[in-house]
Symmetry: C2
Amino acid sequence: MGTESKWGLSSSWFRRRISLGFVICFVALGAINPMAEARVRRYKWEVSYQLKSPDCFKKVTVAINGNTPGPTILAQQGDTVVVELKNSLLTENVAIHWHGIRQIGTPWADGTEGVTQCPIMPGDTHVYKFVVDRPGTYLYHAHYGMQREAGLYGSIRVSVPDGVVEPFSYDEDRSLILADWWHKSTYEQAAGLSSIPFVWVNEPESLLIQGRGRFNCPSLLGGPSTSTDTGVCNTTNPECSPYVLTVVPGKTYRLRIASLTSLSALSFQIQGHNMTVVEADGHYVEPVVVQTLYIYSGETYSVVVKADQDPTRNYWVSTNVVSRPPKTAPGLAVFNYYPNHPRRIPPTAPPPAPAWNDTRSRLAQSRSIRARRGHILPPPAAADKTLLFLNTQNKIEGYNRWSINNVSFTLPHTPYLIALKQNLSGAFDPAPPPETYDYAKYNIYEVAPNTNASYGDGVYRLEFNSTVDVVLQNANTMNPENSETHPWHLHGHDFWVLGYGEGKFDPAKDPTTFNLADPIMKNTVPLHPYGWTALRFLADNPGAWAFHCHIEAHFYLGMGVVFAEGVDRVGRLPNSIYGCGAAPKQ
Amino acid sequence: MGTESKWGLSSSWFRRRISLGFVICFVALGAINPMAEARVRRYKWEVSYQLKSPDCFKKVTVAINGNTPGPTILAQQGDTVVVELKNSLLTENVAIHWHGIRQIGTPWADGTEGVTQCPIMPGDTHVYKFVVDRPGTYLYHAHYGMQREAGLYGSIRVSVPDGVVEPFSYDEDRSLILADWWHKSTYEQAAGLSSIPFVWVNEPESLLIQGRGRFNCPSLLGGPSTSTDTGVCNTTNPECSPYVLTVVPGKTYRLRIASLTSLSALSFQIQGHNMTVVEADGHYVEPVVVQTLYIYSGETYSVVVKADQDPTRNYWVSTNVVSRPPKTAPGLAVFNYYPNHPRRIPPTAPPPAPAWNDTRSRLAQSRSIRARRGHILPPPAAADKTLLFLNTQNKIEGYNRWSINNVSFTLPHTPYLIALKQNLSGAFDPAPPPETYDYAKYNIYEVAPNTNASYGDGVYRLEFNSTVDVVLQNANTMNPENSETHPWHLHGHDFWVLGYGEGKFDPAKDPTTFNLADPIMKNTVPLHPYGWTALRFLADNPGAWAFHCHIEAHFYLGMGVVFAEGVDRVGRLPNSIYGCGAAPKQ
């Protein structure tokens, strides 16, 4: 497909391989800077319950070393990161995923409970060890139950090797994680999602910027004493004072903006300032100037911002819910021009939020994100296999579920990586899940005549080193005239984003529109309402890898799949990932 | 000690042994009824989160087969109970203790996380198998973290063998569990208890009778939409309609009343009716007639009640908090005289609650509970070892804790039973904890001059078959003029209740007051404010056994110890209890 010949495929494919190999070789030999050497970055983390007031309402959170977000991991390309994680929760296990790190050669360190490891029990210490092989902006977060939503997340920032110059410049580098926040516990949410009648999580109580938001405490006035108690909701609590991003007039800032929302698609604005998008999920972007950045759960972007506005005042940083009718106040931080007081309220109201239902604008921005010239990694010209994934909301035995091709994913009791490597039978359904849906007949604009789906825990087994296309197809939910945004995240790989379309993907026609010239590579990509998104990736990373909607409740209720490739090439699995199901500790 | 000679000790001790052996022999041979045979009672349980409104306020509970309380286990003396427990929680492990069942020969089935087993992981199925060797009223409940408080509990009712006549008669047999209930999650409570500043659980939002209570929903009016929503607090929800105990005029009822409160000591009344106490913790009581029964967490009582009042109306069953200034509305149920409508509100107000601080009345009732004539199991006349346990509230590194002899208990990572049986070194502190405190100097009526304690996980190793006395000594808390009630529960044994005293126990004088004539045997006993309670037991059950305050927060914060005896006599530990710490699955 596309315009490249078979020869083009091979040559571009080899070019990519060679250039990657070259870089790795340089780093390994320290060729760029004889002083540079891959280092080991050691972290000791303790996961525990902490009462926190991120939005002024006090609730129990799951924190690392007492904090949420947890500590930022700072490393340089080629470094080995070692996180010694102690679970000090009371009755609850834990697992942490290193989002965007491909775990080449260490598929057991991906941190995905049920896929690559057993959960870590209270009292246990688990060591995650992996190489950060590419510079860029990454994340970590719990990947077990709905634990991420309890606050267990943070940033990973991987810098380029000494002597390597990035294709843009800035004076300072800052990280900002966006999140949505609820006052109900994740256990309560999970119970509601698994109930008949279905209890939806509803819209978040607040939006957090770098762990800080603001709930309207006075709205609780007159409530039970436990709620009106300023010990429970207190807008003067310093924990919920807005995050302050201090800038020096005239200087340029790289902001690494990431979203780990559980539900919300977001807009992000810095009042009165343009942002130039330069990186997405660890890949350089052909610069795009925006006033509003749309960002979906699991995505990371670097934007470059110059402090070039009136320096006598502060400005709002704001984030708003898009793609769902917003019921949540904007998340606000302060863009503080030094030497103004960091708590000085900006003199003008925050910028108006973009229309929540302006899907076209979001689609246009998605399409505008392309690989940066000089940094294009060309995709293979054609795929060996194409998977067409219909995204739907369904019912199974009266329960609300989300599904792919009418199969609603359930995590097996024994992690796939162990079951596949050990050839354990009975660990999951050996029948492969459906590779397509009845696209000829399906009307994506209407509620399906039969919304029933079935549970499944089968695996898509991919030929090692094959090229795989995935086309995500959106549809109507079980409510008339409603289609959701699904941010899809692939573990263990980056994919080329070949295109976004409106309406139903036509396998005969739409592939000709694929961008094979300068597609950005990402690990997370939105599927827009009533649209499609086409991806291509190389199944070149031995292991078992989740690919799922990054909305916590959607994945919990079945919106995901597992890919496996080259498991016979995986080295000896470490004992530490064992200890559950048919995989007792070795 | 006491009035019996050494000879008396031996003869009574042998009589007890012989009579017990006799009964067991009869049952085993089916001598009483040739048709009777020990049966296997099989239960299949699934533990899951459920949204429930036990007091009209909807919150997540941990339920068995969808319900809290869970199913009642009905068995006959000598039966084998097999519970196949599937953990269907999302991220949380589980363990269930069979409260009052001594687990003779099956110490691994006691269900005490950290003491007798590793916790059961989500997705796992664990089989508990044990013999119920004595008739009586028992309980089961989670024994992991603060999980019991989330609703994971139920009743065990063991009937006498066919042909055996109990020393009292009744027409019907009913079970009632009393509990206190909070709207905060147990995770949130645990986080507060482990925080600086300390966040206490506070008084319960409601009291439940057989899983039903009533919170004053209108008090939430004006609160956030999630609270005023009738979906969240709704007094017309049938789940929180009062429990109805229907009686037929003239008939006699055995009510098996148990308390599984997390904090509260309770009074229990049936408006206008006397109750005759006939059983306590599985032992027959010399009948005591009461209007108010005081009951402490972990205790069970059978009372006999005759429906002998005006049959044209209904009556209130009520329970109130005692021993702490009550801030919780009475728990109410309906004592419904058939054929009055079960929902017909009794025409008069519930009986007034007894004064919460009338310690003397409670002490008097505790003292009045004696073994029934003809069913006295005489204790050994003297102890081989006496442990004097000072109960205090303390500080450790700024954290609030509870302690015994200034040691605040922490559960080790590897269960004691496994560590002891396998001689694993490093699993817990090998130094024995203190057997006494400085009673000559300690002023139990004042806040200790130094409230600091230290953490400890050592074990009291008891000589097999030795007789052990434990004297629990209460004291002032860290607040002036305040002393708490602590209900102490012993696993794996019953103990003789030798006496209750006021003030400081004097080892030289007070043992002469011990009741060696007709002490009741129990597994749970209150320690009254500023008082002492003396117990005696035979260390004749090979295993490792918790002995702890049954207040969930007190045990969580260190108010407990572990006894071990005859571990070399314990049979091969089943694989199923392994899977944590230094005890990987075998």
